[in-house]
Symmetry: C2
Subunit: 239 residues, 2 copies
């Protein structure tokens, strides 16, 4: 019995929002993983989350979660602009970390997180779940096999129509609002999965709404000769 317990991967969740709840629900269906700890910025929130998902250890600071010796890895589920700080906190405490997408809100933050992970030799990954969907795995296998020929053009759209609300996270610049960081990254990530390399040329045209975030954007990526991607994302447009 002891042996079986010891093989379970012990997760901690940093954050208690909607995505944190979805992750907790998902973990419950995984036989070799368990949710053992949650960290919040307030005792009340940590307890409320802990009660709802039967989490034994509740921490009222992110630091306490990061230092919890009973946690094997941490899932970062805070708003976008906090990801880099939260991820670095975990890594500096030698905790492997799975960072909800978007990994960070810009390249310099991403570099700091990656540099920290490399320096400490600790695992770090963006929670780009679509990469592991069976349909995507099959698609990559088909592309790899060459049966559809060379892929010269990838097209991907990810957009939805939200009502305009300047108070919503989606429309607030300070919370990393806009379509690119919310859903555009799925399209970009998809192109990357198919093309494999990083693009050598990037162009984007965006409609910046009243609050200064991208409400819709068109993106062209070039992956060397004869390979391009056209991507579209938005928060105010139905695809």
């Amino acid at each position: 019995m002891e042996v079986i317990m010891a093989t379970k991967f012990r997760w901690g969740i940093l954050g208690t929002g909607n995505i944190a709840k979805q992750f907790a629900r998902g973990l419950a269906s995984i036989s070799d993983a368990e949710l053992v700890a949650v960290g919040s910025r307030s005792r009340e929130s940590a307890d409320r989350f802990g009660d709802e998902f039967s989490v034994p250890h509740r921490h009222s600071t992110y630091e306490d979660l990061a230092r919890d010796p009973g946690v094997d890895a941490i899932y970062v589920a805070t708003p976008h602009p906090m990801h880099h700080e939260n991820a670095i906190l975990c890594l500096e405490n030698d905790k492997p970390v799975l960072v909800e997408k978007p990994f960070t809100v810009n390249a310099s933050e991403a570099k700091r997180v990656i540099d920290t992970a490399r320096e400490r030799g600790v695992f770090c990954m963006e929670a780009m779940w679509t990469r592991f969907l069976p349909v995507i795995a099959k698609l990559r296998e088909i592309v790899e096999s060459g049966e559809i020929g060379d892929v010269r053009m990838v097209q991907a759209n990810f957009a939805f129509r939200a009502q305009f609300n300047p108070e919503s996270r989606l429309f607030k610049p300070e919370l990393g609002g806009g379509g690119l960081l919310d859903v555009g990254i799925y399209a970009i990530s998809f192109a990357r999965m198919i093309m494999k390399n990083a693009p050598v040329e990037v162009y984007s045209m965006a409609d910046m709404g009243k609050t200064g975030v991208d409400e819709q954007a068109a993106i062209i990526l070039r992956y060397g000769a004869e390979r391009m991607a056209m991507l579209m994302c938005g928060t105010r447009v139905t695809t």
Copy 2:
């Protein structure tokens, strides 16, 4: 009997290539139109075409066709780079003209044709047939009605995969080769039909092949606030 004949619109075709033949076949199914003349740069070619499509008047120069008093309008079916010269010839002889797409190969040529048509007060149109398809008419009606909401993003692709052949019109710069002039204009024209205005911002990224023509291109157009189009075209990519 005389009266009925007089109501038929008398067409001349300038050029004897494949598209000219398709137009001739199409005309045969129109009850109030008839093909009365063909013009070529050679007597042999005019006669061959005339025999095949039972055209009474065959001209061995384009000038003779343009001056033919028995012709009501002329369809220009020559290779792309000749369109502007051919169209102007017709207009200067006061012949209404339908110019096969692309109208011309660049904006300055287009302007010269339009200026000539305006100066002479003679009808001139690009043969953008897709504009008149019942499905497009219905689509425009639906967009117009507002039942699908504001159109914020138009996407259109038109590409096909031709074998690379440097001797083919499609790959020769001097014949107006490349995907944009061959099929990309359908996507651009489609976006124009839906958005109605001309774009205020244009960006394109293209893969120029070995012969220096666009083998595939991605285009983003902006039509003012909250309205964009993403278009793709190519001659070496299957969509």
